[in-house]
């Protein structure tokens, strides 16, 4: 405590001396900033706050230095740095409230300049007095400038395909492509049980390709009411839908499977982003939420060895809806 007082006194003396030296010159003339009474106690307070800020800053460096890299106490670091900043802020507040001369001044709001406005217009008009076909020349200039702008922007089209929207349509699925799980293993039909859902992908395709990703479930084949022409799309009641929501493109991350079907709502595939909900019995038609079209369904078959394979392509384009989206998908991968 004693050392503290010494430090503070020393610093006060030092700073006080310096300040006085600067202040004595201008007293004779008329001042711009009015004089105020000195506030030694406020100065002391500022000094104390700044010294504490120094300590907090040192504490930050020490904490950083003594803890191992992978085990830094984030709370302590934040506390030290935050305190250091807050103490400097506090010191500045004391300076603002008690040490700086407080003035309340008046000034004119800036005016408009009609004279200058007129002169600018005059200069521009008079500068063109030798030109007879102004509009034509301005038009030609605008055309040249506009074309240059277009030309300069053209290389930006190299960013990606322009009007060729084929990449939005491509899918890797065609008859015979095997379904694989996250680890790339083929999926036996017998492993697909009711009451849960599986992610599946096209064999040999980047699993991040949204047209590859499927949600696979098993339902009672007798209860299925798939749209016309899809009678043989769900062998043994195993269904595959695109896992990408047709609304905004999130994954169908939820499968609602009621434990007590008499009271609870029927099974449904749900996107957790905006809660679009699809009925797997009826070809994933929309039963709730903002989606505008069903999840595309993939026809399945079970091969001789009991593995699941595609028996064709999706019933519609995959992914979030966009202009033109309801057309059939096209074959081919975008690898």
């Amino acid at each position: 405590m004693k050392i503290w007082k010494w430090i503070v006194t020393l610093l006060t003396l030092l700073f006080g001396r310096l300040m006085r030296r600067g202040g004595s010159v201008e007293d004779a003339e008329e001042r711009i900033v009015p004089a105020g009474t000195p506030e030694r106690r406020a100065e002391n307070l500022v000094l104390v706050l700044l010294m504490l800020a120094v300590l907090a800053g040192i504490a930050f460096i020490v904490v950083y230095a003594i803890y191992p890299h992978a085990d830094q106490p984030n709370e302590l670091l934040g506390l030290c740095l935050g305190l250091c900043l807050a103490l400097i802020g506090g010191a500045l507040t004391v300076v603002a409230k008690r040490l700086v001369v407080t003035e309340e001044l008046e000034d004119d709001y800036p005016d408009v300049h009609p004279q200058a406005q007129r002169e600018i217009a005059e200069i521009v008009h008079e500068s063109g007095s030798r030109i007879t076909r102004k509009k034509l020349l301005i038009g030609a200039g605008a055309a040249a400038g506009g074309t240059l702008g277009l030309a300069a922007l053209t290389p930006a089209l190299s960013l990606g395909p322009l009007w060729d929207t084929a990449p939005l349509d491509m899918t890797p699925w065609r008859p015979g492509v095997a379904l694989v799980d996250e680890n790339g293993n083929k999926m036996p039909a017998s492993d697909v049980v009711g009451g849960t859902f599986y992610s599946a992908f096209a064999e040999g395709v980047d699993p991040e390709d949204i047209a590859s990703e499927l949600v696979v479930i098993r339902l009672d084949p007798d209860k299925l009411k798939l749209p016309n022409g899809r009678a043989d799309w769900a062998p043994d009641g195993i269904l595959a839908y695109s896992k990408i929501c047709t609304h905004a493109g999130c994954a169908i991350g939820l499968y609602r499977n009621p434990l007590f079907p008499d009271l609870e709502p029927k099974p449904a595939l749900v996107c957790p982003c905006h809660y679009s909900t699809f009925d797997p019995y009826t070809g994933a038609s929309v039963i709730y939420g903002p989606a505008g079209r069903p999840l595309p369904q993939l026809p399945l078959m079970i091969d001789g060895a009991g593995y699941l394979r595609a028996n064709g392509n999706f019933s519609a384009r995959v992914g979030p809806a966009w202009w033109n989206v309801r057309e059939k998908p096209t074959y081919g991968t975008n690898e």
């Binding site: 935050g82 700086v100 407080t102 309340e104 322009l162 047209a211 493109g249 957790p272 903002p290 809806a321």
Partner: protein, 465 residues
């Protein structure tokens, strides 16, 4: 030797800037707390730049697959992108990295919040009126640029939450009629996910260079426009008029105050970064397009958009087998577009409706313009209700209120509540004005009575009789 005069002479002899500097030092700041909101945003931006530079030194913008081995055991051995791994490393392996990262995130949230509150202050005091319409427009551009910048920032991390955000952004972009598909292919370089090989690098340069540059430029123009026409001021006394500004000079009066505010803002942001966890990306895991978690919420400033996407009924414009306008367009493009347009045109719409095209240097109190205040409250409530519905799934978890029930309540409320508030607030403003007038008359009468008493007293006790 004078420690001030000599450097000033040096600079003036080489730049001729002394008169400008002299004038700037005595630039006047009207003294009102609400005028500091914009400064809070400015100082958050400075903290964002400072912390962002640190983060850029450790961030890897590659989506190349790598396997994580590090101090965070639950992710050990997991395959992830180099981008996500570098952010997990910043959080666990780089000393003080977590502090910087969390402070950066908090600063972004506070930056946008301060801008929104500043916008409300400017709106409700009519400070956007002539001659400050351009400052208002620049401010709006700043806000919307900042929204995009923040979105890019948390998308870069490539955790599951950020990936879901990107997927939705892609879906919203695709929904723009005619150009949506080509535009998204252009931006993402290919269908997203996975997107083209250069996409992450492009997003990174946009986040750390293009957008910050744009923000800094807009901030510079914003401040120059303010300086050119000066701040507005409240009519606090008879001396405060349209022609004369009263305030504290930049130097010495305002400088320590403003610097103090800067240090307080930075202090709060670093305290938040150290003590209050935000976006624990290691818990979300790496982004895989076939995964999505329930209960995911974006940063607060995108809540109004997720709310709009969720609230919008299933409605696409279709012709036969063709979709013309898919659903995300309404909530993701049209809604923010309408908000931006209403705000951007407001100064001119108000001038036309009121026929008031004069210069306004005096700021209104909200009650001084009942219709504007009422419209502002109604408009804000419309946005806020949509925002609140974005949290409907959380409300369900917290209070058990059915999502479906909330959906219908909110669909009705967003059209019923704003008009009620409009008429209610307008009424309230008018009542307050009436109260002010009564108060004025009372004060005037009291003054007169006092004057009368004094004249009686001066005349002496004898003469009155």
């Amino acid at each position: 030797m004078d420690p001030v005069e000599d450097p000033v002479r040096f600079i003036d002899e080489r730049t001729a800037a002394a008169p400008l500097l002299r004038k700037t030092m005595r630039y006047l700041f009207p003294d009102h707390w609400s005028f500091l909101l914009g400064e809070v945003a400015l100082y958050s931006f400075i903290v964002l730049i400072a912390t962002g530079i640190y983060l850029a030194l450790f961030f890897d913008d590659s989506t190349a697959k790598t396997v994580y081995h590090g101090p965070y055991v639950p992710l050990d051995g997991q395959t992830m992108s180099a981008a996500y791994k570098s952010v997990v490393d910043i959080s666990f392996s780089v000393p003080a990295g977590l502090l910087i990262r969390q402070t950066h995130h908090w600063a972004a949230d506070v930056f946008v919040a301060a801008m929104v509150i500043h916008l409300m202050r400017v709106f409700f005091t009519g400070a956007f009126r002539k001659p400050r319409e351009l400052t208002w427009i620049i401010g709006l551009l700043l806000l919307f640029t900042a929204l995009l910048e923040g979105y890019l920032g948390y998308s870069l991390v490539d955790d599951l939450l950020s990936g879901m955000g990107l997927q939705i952004g892609n879906g919203v972009g695709l929904s723009i009629p005619i150009i949506g598909g080509p535009l998204m292919l252009l931006l993402f370089g290919s269908r997203f996910p996975p997107g083209g090989p250069h996409f992450w690098g492009r997003m990174y340069i946009a986040h750390v260079l293009l957008f910050p540059l744009l923000l800094a430029t807009l901030i510079g123009v914003h401040l120059m426009l303010i300086m050119a026409r000066h701040h507005t001021q409240f009519r606090e006394s008879r001396r405060h008029t349209q022609r004369r500004i009263i305030g504290v000079p930049l130097f010495p009066g305002q400088t320590p105050r403003s610097l103090a505010l800067m240090f307080y803002v930075a202090a709060i942001l670093f305290l938040l970064g150290g003590l209050v966890q935000i976006n624990p990306i290691w818990q979300w895991g790496p982004f895989e397009p076939w995964l999505a978690t329930n209960g995911a919420q974006p940063d607060w400033y995108l809540g109004w958009l997720i709310g709009a996407l969720r609230l919008m009924p299933s409605f696409d414009v279709t012709v036969g087998h063709f979709t013309l306008i898919p659903n995300p367009f309404w909530g993701g493009v049209l809604f923010p577009g309408v908000v931006l347009m209403v705000l951007a045109t407001f100064p001119w719409v108000e001038a036309r409706l009121t026929g008031d095209r004069r210069v306004h240097n005096l700021a209104d109190r909200p009650r001084d313009a009942p219709t504007r205040t009422a419209f502002g409250v109604a408009f804000l409530s419309w946005i806020f209700l949509i925002f609140a519905f974005g949290a409907a799934d959380r409300i369900l978890v917290l209070w058990g209120l059915s999502y479906n029930l909330q959906l219908y309540i909110f669909r009705i409320a967003i059209w019923v509540v704003p008009p009620i508030l409009f008429f209610g607030v307008r009424r309230m403003c008018r009542e307050l004005q009436a109260g002010d007038r009564v108060e004025e008359i009372r004060e005037h009468a009291e003054d007169q009575a006092e004057e009368h008493q004094r004249s009686l007293a001066r005349a002496g006790p004898g003469t009155a009789r």
